[in-house]
Amino acid sequence: MEIDLSQFHQVFFEESFEGLDVMEQELLNLEEDSDLENVNTIFRAAHSIKGGSATFNFKDVADFTHVMETLLDEMREGSRPVTREIIDLLLKSVDCLRGMLNKIQDDEPVGEAHCELINSFNLLLSGEAIVETEVNTAAEQAVETQPIAADTTEDLHHYWNIQFIPQSHILETGNEPVRMFRELKGMGVLESTVDVSKVPDFDELVPESCFLSWRLRLDADTEYDTIKEVFEWVEDECELTIDNAEEPEVKKQDVKKQEVEKQGPITESEISVDTVISDKEVTAVETDDIEVSGAEKTTGDSSSDKMESTNAIVSISGAVSNKTSDVAKEKSQKLATETQNSSQAKVKSTAVNEEKKNQKKATSTASIRVGIDKVDTLIDLVGELVITQSMLSELGDNFTMAKLNQLVSGLSELEQNTRELQESVMRIRMLPIGFVFNRLPRMVRDLSSQLGKKVHLAIKGESTELDKTVMEQIGDPLTHLVRNALDHGLESTEQRIAAGKSEEGTVTLNAFHQGGNIVIEVSDNGGGIDPDVIYDKAVEKGMIQQGEELVKEQILGLIMEPGFSTAAVVSDVSGRGVGMDVVKRNINNLGGSVEIESNLGKGTTFTIRLPLTLAILDGQLIRVANEVYVLPLVSIIESIPLSMVEISKIAGDMKVYKLHNEYVPIIDLREEFVIQRGGGANSEGLLAIVEGENRKIALKIDDLMGQQQVVIKSLDSHYKSIQGVSGATILGDGRVSLILDIVGLAKRAAIRANHRREKVA
């Protein structure tokens, strides 16, 4: 059957990356307290990757994970203590494997990076173990070549005598002698004689036990190994002799010898010798009959004492006249041709791979792993929806006004079903933030040793869920914040001791839900940020004027402006001041915000607020003339009737509203969107004070309408991106409504005001 294994590759990659994450995490745990279960989990992950990569033919990965596994096995069995060096090596290997898998996924060559690590593993493993490793690897390689290679050592015989005396419990392992005989029969003509002498009297008979034994005579052009393979699973639970019927005297001895020695680990050494033979096939082809067996003998000699079984095989080949040699020669040639073919095939496949590369990239799709409970809830809800629907449709078939109450309650049920269904569907995209948090301990470990600081990373709320897309994009900003906390936030050990603090600094990550948002906090108990230093620096950089009055939050906010860096020495850890502004921009792009709170000498906390999902928004509908717009509910601070507002003008014609101690610029949406048609007089209008990125603006609108959740449709993909508008949605009455983006709106107004001023000037 032709089955295309590449269809399973994507799953393999996904589970392997997951396995590597688990390994990394457990390795870090291992450092803190060594537990056998940790090692077991790490071992299992390595083992799975090895199994999969071997199956899907990613040989480099398979070889690499093999040595890793060998070491882990020793750790698991307790024969190798867990040291920091080993953990370091294993962590490096995890990184390396990740890189290799990424490259394989992109159809790129894996390179040589892993070879050095393999050497380190081999060095760690004792000399003896190295030999064993090689044998094992050889054995694995041999799996492919084995069937052909085996041919070279054996001749075909016509008649075989087989004696099979199974132990009585053989049936209890599911091994049915009839099954084996059937298989033998498939090779040729089989005659069998059953020995019933051991069968006890009927009253003592145990039907679950096997008391029979058999003598078989097989007439088939087959090899010893093929016959033996039939009994492979039961060879330790039976007495088995397989003789060549034509030369009973000579063969019997050899075969018996082979049989004894083939059990257990010898099987491997035998296979590895087979491989060597197959390597030598090219030489063999060019030589004559005698030299063929000579080559085989050399092979036997060069092997260790374990290889006696091979010698036995070779001596068989040697003993059996010219016929054997001819066969051997033939086989060798066949092998050589096949090797050639396979190398050609490889070249070919490389070319094909190149072709496939683009195709593949296009077809590989991202997938999401969803807990079964979420799917079950969804199915339940759909079930309820179906019931409500059928109830309503029945109601509609013969509706009378008397049933109005039923209709109303039916509709409200429908509403509830829909809402619950919507929430559940959204939950499918929700993943615990632990996925992002989990990649940080490793970074903290590496970074803290690089910086020479003692750091403890505390993680809270890792099961808090958030949208997959949001999560994918929050990873980098979060990493950057933690990096910064370590590099700039925490003081050096000496400084900490001098300040009377504990030697070990703490960075805390916390996540929780608040309203419709997810809040992520990154805090450190370091030196805190000195607002005066920031202020001076900002003046020096020309970002603000000397003497400009700013509140503490505003000053701290400056570190997130482009081109700001306070680190006395720009370290290679946190970059060169492009960073914090990127962090802020990324978070803003997700519809979120960052706040900084810092206490000198005590530490700094960055608070990130993000919407739970990017697909749905809690919106406030507003009316401007005849148009309806949507404002994100979270952005609204308050709304005031225009009649109660005192509007002042600054800088020429910029209208502002004085709210407490700040002047808030007013944007007239009617002007902004050039709406000419009437509908409602201006004097009856409202001012909606909204906030985005810590900046407030006042929007002049005509009316506040209802609040509702709206499904965000991207304007980008359906039309084009417009500053001040973050998307569109379809309202209940079918109208399309634009969703306003406060930050964009403020920027747009500022640009426009500047233009106007320039024109005036």
């Binding site: 294994l5 090895k50 071997a54 209890e172 599911g174 059990q263």
Partner: protein, 120 residues
């Protein structure tokens, strides 16, 4: 139709085994560890069980022992999928009551050949 229970904690291996066997017309049920497999085995009478050895929660060897202890699974073929080609591990499988083993890496053809061998 021959009912097969495929047990492996690795999703890719499980999918490959399942796909191969289903393509050959078998009725396949998947389980991702020994605990799940044992549960599945009690709710449906399988004709063949194919199980990985190294798995979380309950490993393959324990699974075989527990299955053999159930009346229905005393004589059915149970095959172990194993990367260990050494004699020790095979022996451990046999001692636990496994019928035989399929050594990883294997290709779909090898898998089918082995499964066809054990079903009557």
């Amino acid at each position: 139709m021959t009912k097969i229970l495929a047990v492996d904690d690795s999703a890719s291996m499980r999918q490959m085994v399942t796909f191969t066997l289903k393509s050959a017309g078998f009725d396949v049920t998947e389980a991702s560890d020994g605990v799940e497999a044992l549960k599945a085995a009690q709710s449906k009478a399988f004709d063949v069980v194919i199980s990985d050895v190294n798995m979380p929660n309950m490993d393959g060897l324990t699974l075989v022992k527990k299955l053999r202890a159930l009346g229905n699974y005393k004589f059915i073929p149970i095959l172990m999928l194993t990367t260990e080609s050494s004699g020790d591990k095979k022996q451990a499988g046999r001692a636990a009551g496994a019928t035989g083993w399929i050594v990883k890496p294997f290709n779909p053809d090898q898998l089918l050949a082995t499964v066809k061998k054990v079903i009557s």
